[in-house]
């Protein structure tokens, strides 16, 4: 089942002779339970693609659909994008981006609170997620007291808190060593399989490429392909 569907997405910054086309007719598709990588050098347009999928920037043309809902369709967009995000998306960043004045548990709770889940139920969910990601014993600590790997796990727990259809990750392994990076990729794989979310990662971390189901290359604003990777464990053809 297709969860992320991007069709002929174009983003032009500026106008006239100063116009810069950051994205040209990008089309990608990610199914439920799949891990997709968006690869490309700096300035190629991959962050523009991610922010367009997240509804943070408004594309110039094209179509962006998450699940059954197209929130952008050639100039039309849903009115409350922030609400759409909190109901359908989770975010993970390279720099973990935890709220510095909230403990690990509170960082997860805040997403639940924004989604209208409060009280003991929210606490139970947060606790369960943190345990699931192996940082249950660190839940009362502020981000500054957590290691990089622990912060990334808390960030993943936060991204999962609203049971999103899609998790958008920006360089999630770039700040981690190979072992921890692989551990995070394994976690993504587990989440995709167990929770059924689609995971879209912007990355140029070639160490982790083999962990993805689909790989999209972005170069000069063009998305070149969406090759399906061989199933994990089988040798590449």
């Amino acid at each position: 089942m297709e969860v992320v569907h991007i069709e002929n997405l174009t983003k032009v910054y500026g106008s006239g002779h100063t116009a810069v086309t950051a994205l040209r007719d990008a089309t990608i598709s990610v199914n439920r339970g799949e891990l997709a990588a968006i690869l490309g050098p700096s300035g190629s347009g991959k962050t523009t693609l991610l922010t367009a999928i997240a509804g943070i920037i408004e594309p110039t043309s094209g179509r962006v659909c998450i699940g059954q809902t197209c929130f952008y369709d050639n100039g039309w967009r849903v009115r409350d994008l922030r609400r759409f995000r909190r109901e359908h998306m989770g975010f993970i960043f390279q720099s973990h981006n935890l709220v510095p004045f909230l403990t690990a548990r509170e960082n997860v709770l805040v997403v639940l609170q924004i989604s209208g889940i409060t009280g003991a139920k929210a606490v139970d969910i947060a606790q369960e997620l943190l345990n699931y990601l192996g940082v249950g014993d660190r839940q009362a600590h502020l981000p500054e007291k957590l290691s990089g790997g622990e912060q990334q796990r808390v960030a993943i727990a936060r991204a999962l808190a609203n049971s999103p259809q899609v998790i958008l990750a920006d360089e999630p392994t770039a700040a981690l060593d190979t072992e921890r990076g692989k551990s995070v990729m394994a976690l993504f794989r587990q989440i995709a399989r167990e929770k059924g979310s689609a995971v879209v990662c912007v990355t140029h971390d070639h160490r982790m490429i083999e962990g993805f189901d689909r790989i999209y290359q972005v170069k000069d604003g063009r998305v070149t392909d969406g090759d399906q990777q061989p199933p994990k464990g089988e040798p590449p053809t």
Partner: protein, 400 residues
């Protein structure tokens, strides 16, 4: 989970200092309200405590407090026969500053009639009232005298027989009460050195004038033996008979050629429209300035606190936080700053007001008004921070 409180938890030391600073500023704002109230209370204290219904003063003057008024003390008997008047009493009011045991005593001399007691001391906290017509005084405790102390004034020594509390003149100087006869003597009778000096000056003038200006010399010679005019007072206090209309009795007295009568309300108005009106404008202006300064400082603190959390705000927007949640954080922190500052202002005020040199009277209406001002200040001061917070793009969380 309250995000505003969670954020403050991280910076409680700095936030506490900010609250203290804002609290001290608010304490000043509140103090100026209290200082003005103190001015009014001081200005009206003697009028209210006198028990008089009417104040009769020299024609066309606004005495005895706002302006000098002088009239013979026997006028009391003429006024006493006006229909509606029950009793009258002479009243003297002037300020003196005299050395006493190595320090200066500055106080208001109030002379009153011991018989009627009108205009005399109230709120005695030690000793007794004046019991004999001469050489006794009752002083306000603010003057620093004790019962039994002796003060030399003019030709005589006066013994402090009682102490009052809170009896001050419109300038804040403590009041000392005397019989009106003693008050007249203190004011008009020169001491021996002054008499000798005046005689020497008069003799020199007489000697100089005698050869060429015999009429002037004769006048100067008469002045050697002149007694000063003692029997002048500053006002006659009037107590009306039950049922008498103050305005009607005042109108009757005003029709006489040389007197002006004020009701107690009119006398109070004269005081408030005089020196107190200026003080009111002065303190009012200062309060406005302090309020503006407080607003600017609170705005700056809130704006700085907002700038420090732009990244978390962008993150909250990215994960779908509605604007009201983000506005709530900024507004709650601003209100917390203002309200904690307000409580500090109340505590600091209550601990210090009795140590101020002049009376500071802060009532519940002043406190409630300040609370309303604080809330408005916080809302206004949040505007800049709110504007900045709402302009943060969710994408800033991604781009770092």
């Amino acid at each position: 989970m309250n995000l505003a409180v969670r954020d403050l938890r991280q910076h409680w030391g700095r936030f506490g200092l900010s609250c203290l600073g804002v609290g001290l500023l608010l304490a000043l704002v509140l103090s100026f309200a209290g200082i003005y109230n103190g001015f009014v209370a001081d200005a009206l204290g003697l009028i209210r405590s006198s028990g008089a219904d009417l104040w009769v003063v020299q024609k066309d003057t606004r005495g005895p407090f706002a302006e000098m008024s002088r009239l013979p003390d026997d006028v009391r008997y003429r006024i006493a026969v006006v229909p509606g008047v029950r009793e009258t009493s002479p009243y003297i009011f002037y300020t003196v500053q005299r050395p006493w045991h190595g320090r200066l005593l500055r106080f208001v001399v109030v002379g009153y009639d011991l018989g009627t007691g009108m205009g005399g001391p109230s709120q005695l906290v030690a000793g007794r009232g004046i019991a004999q017509a001469h050489y006794e005084m009752v002083a306000d405790q603010k003057l620093g005298l004790r019962v039994g102390d002796v003060v030399h004034l003019g030709l005589h020594d006066y013994t402090v027989v009682g102490l009052t509390r809170g009896m001050v003149g419109s300038g804040g100087d403590p009041v000392a009460f005397f019989s009106y006869q003693d008050a007249e003597e203190i004011q008009f009778v020169k001491d021996n050195w002054a008499i000798r000096n005046a005689r020497q000056r008069a003799l020199a003038a007489y000697t100089h004038a005698l050869p060429t200006q015999p009429t002037l010399a004769a006048g100067l010679a008469r002045s050697f033996s002149d007694n000063p005019e003692l029997h002048n007072v500053n006002a006659i206090l009037v107590h009306l008979a039950p049922g008498a209309d103050p305005a009607a009795v005042a109108a009757a007295i005003n029709r006489w050629e040389y007197f002006t009568a004020y009701t107690t309300a009119a006398q109070s108005e004269l005081m408030l429209a005089g020196s107190v009106a200026l003080a009111r404008r002065q303190t009012g202006l200062f309060r406005v300035l302090l309020t503006i300064v407080t607003t600017v400082i609170v705005a700056q603190i809130i704006y700085t606190m907002t700038l420090e959390k732009l990244k978390p705000i962008a993150l909250l927007k990215l994960i779908g936080a509605p604007n009201r949640l983000i506005m709530g954080v900024v507004l709650q922190q601003s209100l917390a700053l203002g309200l904690i500052g307000y409580v500090i202002a109340l505590v600091v005020g209550n601990l210090t007001y009795d140590k101020w040199p002049r009376r500071v009277l802060v009532g519940l209406p002043d406190q409630l008004l300040l609370l309303a001002i604080v809330v408005v200040i916080c809302l206004v001061a949040s505007a800049m921070g709110l504007r900045r917070a709402l302009r943060v793009e969710a994408g800033a969380a991604l781009t770092g």
